[in-house]
Subunit: 118 residues, 2 copies
DNA sequence: CTGTATCCTCGCTGATACTG
DNA sequence: CAGTATCAGCGAGGATACAG
């Protein structure tokens, strides 16, 4: 069954959806679209994220095999994050969501205004 | 700029992503793929959701114009939820995410096991 | 059947400061 | 530069019971 899984609370598919649903993971994937990025670069690109939360997100994604963390033995230290093939494959569906959001944001905001009357 | 928006914390696009990122909204969209459904039917389809949270989710999605809520003046009461055209358009990207999750769940789980050594 | 009301907890988040 | 440490707070989410 192709879709039955997602509705089972104990199915791992739920865990994936939770991870993808994470606010920051989506933005990290989008930020790494065009190649490896360093920590501070990511932090600056993604507005409003604190270092702690960004680290948590990156560690979780590394743990799931979505990206790699490469440390360069330099002074000052340099760390680069890069999507794995698995992470790259996730890029397409996430981009689809992002595109939808940007295309339909006005319609959603309009709907919100309409229902504001009640 | 096509993607700059999503990285701005104050941009409405963020709000959309938050809504889509919501664990239950995604499952509701999937549940309504094949037409209108009643409250209890949704609750049974989506495992592990409490009535309160399901109501909250449905109200929020209605508020955003993603679905309609139709009350039939009957006894016992009957309420049907159905995706609007806007909600239907969201179906495709969400399905893409769900498909990705099901296709790659094993690879992610494998990656998690690997990193468990550390 | 379709919710609402109430209470509670727990975990994420943010702020801030500090380290290798 | 790239994080870690620590703490506080709040609010989403869950359990349970009840109502129209």
């Amino acid at each position: 069954m192709l879709h039955g899984d997602a509705f089972d609370p104990d199915c791992p598919t739920r865990l994936i959806l939770d991870r993808i649903g994470d606010k920051w993971s989506v933005l990290v994937v989008l930020s790494l679209r065009e190649g490896p990025r360093r920590f501070t670069r990511l932090r600056d690109t993604i507005g409003g994220v604190t270092p702690k939360v960004l680290t948590q997100t990156l560690r979780a994604m590394e743990h799931d095999g979505l990206l790699t963390r490469r440390v360069f033995p330099e002074v000052p230290p340099r760390v680069e994050y890069e999507l794995t093939p698995l992470g790259l494959s996730l890029q397409r569906p996430i981009q689809a969501i992002a595109d939808w959001a940007e295309e339909n944001v006005h319609e959603v905001m309009a709907a919100r205004s309409t229902h504001e009357q009640s």
